[in-house]
């Protein structure tokens, strides 16, 4: 095993390489491009056997991925943000083909306005489509999760695609030390795909994109897909255990940090959770009992593990790096549903922050912990708060004043 500096994108590409994927349909988009450039280089040099094809859009790319997967090939692909949204029709259509493949999404906030930096509104738009979703916080976890993802996707009781998520810039372009597993150990953990009946051949045509008439048969097929995704809870646990046995790194469905005796916990996904971990250490140094709960698996929703992690806590600051227009934070809504009606569950406080890569500062974590603790004491649920400062609004106002002056508006000053 060697330790090297890799970006998140490099780690994702190494995951695909070590999984010895047969086929990579590709379409570039910042900040994902480096993944397919790296793989293209390896195919060109002969370091990887198989084929990378550039498609004319993400819509075709996901179609090609699922079609190739239906023949029993091991398939890898990657996208981001607007690309994921453009692929959305096929994101919903292909899981029903019951062909396993792995998609890495590099989270980048969605338009309008256009930006390059991350939040999770893109990946959460794919929440309901039938892909398993694994969310990563660092480059090592990303490489390892790609390998775990194939085990889960190819599990005979699951057989749906898996999306592995990383944050653009904060992870995709950040180099950090990563242990590269040896090919032998990866082959032990992830043997070649035994496709069984996943074996579409042109000589034996099967139609997988079928139509049904009548809600009863439709409901049956959709519910079967739901059950297959739910089954991934079991398959994920098995894969995570086997992974720990082979490589010594344990990735539970819900990660907990300094939680055992915690009274207040932060609840968030992705690489910004490192900032919460840092805040936890600082608050602990001051004697405050604070922890961090970070779900890795978001689909299927690890409700039991989440409840287990939060039982007996006084308050949870849920930090959503996404915004569901007209509602608020998605993680908050789902967590409230998971805890509803259970005994000994904590007060939930909802925060929306880190949109478009906006930093979440240590003093904001301190304030969220204090506010949540107070809410638990008073019993009054605070309204969802956008993490946003007066100073930030003043900067926006300055730009608006310039815009108004450019339009020649009288009394342009806000």
């Amino acid at each position: 095993m060697t330790r090297a500096l890799l970006t998140g994108n490099g780690a994702a590409a190494w995951g695909a390489r070590l999984a010895e994927v047969d086929y990579v349909p590709a379409f570039p988009i910042t900040p994902q491009t480096e993944i397919i450039e790296t793989l293209a280089g390896w195919y060109a040099s002969g370091a990887m056997q198989g084929r990378l094809t550039t498609l004319e859009s993400e819509h075709s790319m996901i179609t090609a991925a699922a079609a190739a997967a239906a023949t029993g090939a091991r398939v890898f692909t990657a996208t981001s943000s607007q690309g994921l949204l453009y692929a959305m029709e096929m994101m919903f259509a292909t899981p029903g083909w019951r062909a396993p493949f792995v998609l890495v999404n590099v989270s980048r906030a969605v338009a309008t306005p256009i930006t390059l930096e991350p939040d999770h509104t893109d990946v959460l738009a794919a929440r309901d489509c039938g892909f398993v979703q694994i969310h990563c916080a660092n480059a090592q976890e990303l490489l390892d999760s790609v390998l775990i993802a194939y085990r889960v996707a190819e599990h005979p009781g699951v057989r749906v695609p898996v999306l592995v998520n990383q944050d653009g810039f904060y992870l995709s372009f950040t180099r950090e030390p990563v242990e590269l597993p040896s090919m032998d150990s990866v082959r032990r953990f992830l043997p070649a795909f035994a496709p069984g009946e996943v074996a579409f051949r042109a000589s034996k045509p099967v139609s997988q994109a079928v139509a049904v008439l009548g809600g009863a048969s439709y409901s049956y097929f959709r519910y079967e897909l739901h059950l297959a995704v739910m089954q991934a809870l079991v398959a994920y646990e098995e894969a995570a255990q086997a992974f720990a046995a082979e490589f010594g790194r344990r990735y539970s469905a819900v990660d907990t940090y300094r939680c055992d005796d915690a009274e207040v916990v932060f609840f968030m996904i992705g690489s910004f959770a490192a900032k919460a971990g840092d805040a936890v250490d600082r608050l602990r140094a001051r004697g405050e009992r604070v922890g961090l709960v970070r779900p890795r698996l978001l689909r299927p929703y690890p409700a039991d593990a989440v409840r287990e992690a939060l039982r007996g806590k006084r308050a949870v600051a849920v930090i959503d790096q996404n915004l569901s227009m007209g509602f608020g934070g998605v993680l908050y809504a789902e967590l409230a549903a998971a805890l509803q009606g259970r005994p000994a569950m904590p007060m939930l406080c909802s925060y929306v922050g880190g949109l478009g890569g906006r930093d979440i500062r240590v003093e904001e974590f301190f304030a969220m912990a204090a506010e949540s603790r107070n809410a638990a004491a008073s019993g009054a649920v605070p309204a969802t708060r956008l993490l946003y400062s007066g100073g930030e609004l003043r900067e926006v106002r300055k730009l608006q004043a310039i815009a108004a002056a450019e339009r020649g508006e009288a009394g342009a000053r806000p």
């Binding site: 500096l5 180099r175 806000p414």
Partner: protein, 309 residues
């Protein structure tokens, strides 16, 4: 932990400088994080990269707002507030500027801490290729932190520049090490911070964002500029020049594939490049079947033009 930021312009290799320094720290057994941060993705636009190095696993992520060392490869950035060179610096921060006038900048920026100049490394032979900025900046920074040995730095340069397919590795290495040696008087002046800021921090000044009128709240741009009016020709570092003797008047390849529609073809099928808008991507150079388009360094092309006039 050490926290270091490199500021430069697109094309000056600040990502590479961060990678070299990151690899050198890693070679010394540190946990490392290094990353570039792009704004507009083009040559000449301000960008920065950053490096964290710690003896324990790193719990931070993203932009560094409390740097121990700031390296500035292009002194014109000092006057550009948007470049954020001085962001978060304190009297304990060391600033290393590519300048002949470190004292002057110290005075202009009213900065109480240490300001040093990136050592001037002469091209060899005189008049030859100027030294690679990234190599020089990384070499100087590596000496200032005081925990990177010369051999480890050399190893890091080989690793990073080899991966980029640099042909003149020996020369790059000489420049890096020359910069490292030139900073010996200041070795270790950038200190590893052990005690972190655990003290009481000010409460965030959170506000409730108000609802504004649509006219104000929609992210529209109302300035009267258009693609035609913004002269992207100033972005160019190389200029495509068509040799009419070799152009076989295919009439469409360069003109169709130019991503900026900067090539017009006239009635007798001759292509003309609009240098006000050609941004120098050199796609046309790559696609012209008879290789009738050359890339000429912008400085040279401009000088020739002057002479011709």
């Amino acid at each position: 932990m050490f926290r270091i930021r490199f500021h430069g312009r697109g094309g000056q290799g600040m990502k590479t400088a961060g990678n070299i320094l990151g690899s050198a720290f890693f070679g010394e057994g540190f946990e490392v994080q290094d990353a570039p941060r792009y704004g507009a993705e083009r040559r000449g636009a301000p960008l920065f990269s950053y490096v964290r190095a710690s003896r324990t696993p790193i719990q931070e992520r993203g932009v560094i707002d409390n740097p121990d060392l700031v390296v500035v490869a292009d002194e014109s950035l000092m006057m550009l507030p948007a470049a954020g060179v001085m962001q978060g610096v304190t009297a304990d921060t060391v600033i290393l500027i590519n300048t002949r006038d470190a004292q002057g900048w110290q005075a202009r920026a009213r900065f109480p801490g240490v300001v040093l100049a990136v050592p001037a490394i002469a091209a060899s032979p005189p008049g030859g290729t100027p030294p690679l900025q990234s190599a020089v900046c990384a070499g100087a920074a590596a000496r200032l932190v005081g925990v990177i040995r010369r051999e480890t730095l050399a190893q890091a340069v080989r690793l990073e520049l080899d991966a980029r397919g640099r042909l003149m590795l020996d020369q790059d290495l000489r420049w890096t090490l020359a910069a490292y040696d030139a900073m010996s008087a200041h070795a270790g002046c950038v200190r590893e911070r052990v005690a972190e800021r655990n003290g009481v921090t000010a409460a965030p000044d959170w506000i409730d964002v108000p609802q504004d009128s649509v006219r104000r709240a929609a992210p529209d741009i109302h300035a009267t500029a258009s693609s035609e009016q913004s002269l992207t020709g100033t972005w160019r570092s190389f200029r495509p020049v068509i040799d009419p003797g070799h152009c076989n008047r295919c009439s469409w390849i360069c003109g169709t594939l130019c991503p900026d529609s900067a090539i017009r073809v006239d009635a007798d099928r001759t292509p003309h490049i609009d240098y006000d808008h050609c941004k120098g991507c050199l796609v046309c150079v790559a696609v012209c079947p008879p290789h009738a388009i050359r890339a000429v360094a912008e400085g040279k092309a401009a000088a020739c033009e002057k002479i011709a006039q």
